[in-house]
Amino acid sequence: MWALLQNFIIGIQTGAVYALIAVGYTMVYGVLRLINFAHGDVYMVGAFVGLTLAARMGFATAASIPGFTLIFFFTLAICAVLGVAIERFAYRPLRRAPRITALITAIGVSLLLEALAQLIWGAAPQYFPTMELFRLQPVRIGAVELNAKYFLILFLSLFLMTALWFIVTRTRVGKAMRAVSHDHEAAALMGINVNRIISVTFALGSALAAAAGLLVSAVTNVKIDPLVGVMPGLKAFVAAVLGGIGNIPGALVGGLVMGVAEAFVAGMAGGKFSTWRDAIAFILLILILIFRPAGLLGRATVEKV
């Protein structure tokens, strides 16, 4: 019983990170109908940029609350600019090209980012050193013992997604974003600067992916290498489709469902089925495409002829 609860919590924590990345996929799809395959690599760049900034600042300073906050916002800003640049130079020239052209370009951008990261930071894994700031005590709930650092990631992820939700539903930019996602031409006729709104979308999505990369690697000290974004990127893509691509709450739901499904597959029956852990993501994807192609929260749309 407690083991199940613990598995569930572990799943929610992993899922929140997937959700954070999935939101970027979903937003870009919403405004451009494009799967931005380079998105997972922005996660990786976020981790590397954070590590570089922390090393420049000195890890002692970086481990303080103001120090880490500074690094956090700088990393988000740098990756937001990266996202805007990717859109400006790779996708905008292809806005009127067939969708498949843009899709292939996205794969190209992904490979470019991985190769550039290898050039800049090398292929060997790097790690954040243990930082005092994140040396947190375990939390006990009944027989469940969990480390507080995972809750920290969970809460920060949920906070960032709430902030995004607020921007999209309660601000003028958000309203414009939703208008653009409905119809570019109509939005432009209403005086909305479509290019600017698309840039903002990329900036926000990339910042969230970078936040995920930085948080995971800084708080839990996992490795950072040029390919570290590939798997989370793929899983987040599946999460976005699972929840209904183009749908922001859907990305959250999809991420959490994926995280929990993975945790159960990896952890149940003494780990007997753990080799199925990565497969479950794609099994879920296939099932959802068969039975509910629009996703859990998506609405089926009628193609207008």
């Binding site: 083991a3 613990q6 598995n7 572990i10 799943g11 924590q13 992993t14 395959f37 794969i107 992904s110 490979l111 290898q118 090398g122 292929a123 060997a124 894994p125 790097q126 790690y127 050193p129 243990t130 375990p138 013992e145 969990l146 480390n147 650092k149 995972y150 995971v216 839990t220 000290n221 996992v222 490795k223 290498d225 390919l227 570290v228 590939v230 798997m231 993975e262 945790a263 159960f264 597959v265 990896a266 952890g267 149940m268 029956a269 003494g270 780990g271 007997k272 753990s274 080799t275 852990r277 990565d278």
Partner: protein, 383 residues
Amino acid sequence: MIRKLTAGVAVVAAASVLAGCPPSGGGASGGGSGSGPILVGYYGDLTGPTATFGTSTREGVDLAVEEINQDPPLGRPLEIRAEDDQGKSEQAVSVVTKLVDQDQVVAVLGEVASSNSLAAAPVCQRANVPMITPASTNPQVTQVGDYIFRICFIDPFQGSVMAKFAANSLNAKRAAILWDAKSDYSKGLRDFFKQTFPGQIVAEPSYSAGDTDFNAQLNAIKQANPDVIFVPGYYTEVGTIARQARDQGIKAPLIGGDGWDSPKLFESAGKALDGSYFSNHYSAESTDPRVQDFISAYKKKYNGKVPDAMAALGYDAAKILADSLKRAGATDGPKLRDAIAQTKDFAGVTGNISLDADRNATKPAVVLQISGDRFKYVETVEP
């Protein structure tokens, strides 16, 4: 993963185009015959997730070649052609094909990871070029054919060393195993540990190399309440596994094999592995003059760096090759193969090396304990 595959194909294609450009060795003097240097191939992961394996081995090989060339075998100096396989099996096949077909090397040294050695060994076997792997411990590697040798112990032995150590020295009755489903090395060690461990195996979840989140598997292990956790993986993942185990409040010691050996282990694990144990090929703390001479020569060449076991094995592999060349008196495949096969009581840094009929080395293993920032010698286990 289709895009990765396409990328791989593109890289391989590009590499073979580039490789075709320079005249490599030239037809006549291609490694074997002639009077130029004797070309020897080396392949390993000089970059990638377990890059210290490849780079350490290379450093050991280079040091050995430097010493060998003061009195070269057959009066011709050795020249190493090194290739980076990035730790990928498919890349290993392509670079070894290049070494064998284009550079026409007389022998190949490498790899560390058993999966990569297994991938490339058939290339050497088909071309009748002897391959000596310094550190691949999976039994299947040398079963590829009679041109494939190794100078390290094999996993049935290594697995039994750690199983006995857990049972006798750590008094463990219940063991859990966390293994890497992508690695032949890890699977082999898991099986051999299970065969020898006298107590109960309470859980054996797996992960995939490259994973960064092991919490769900560790939770399964935690529920099973083991006395010891056997993690037959590579250092990149082991450190993270240890951190996440300690974060979940798992107190049982972790034990593992030679895949843990890397100076990078401390970076990935922080202090989480303090007090854990692993089996290895040699201990830098040995007082044997052979070991101490090697360590001081290595430190001199590489700015005070302490050699890990991969460096020591790379060094021994190159030395054994030179010794065999001397005994063979020729560089052609069959003669060289026979000479290597006859290696007996070779005094290596990693112990006395004799090759058996299956082309494996019979050697003792050492158990090391991780203590602060060093690997403390615990005991030597004879085969």
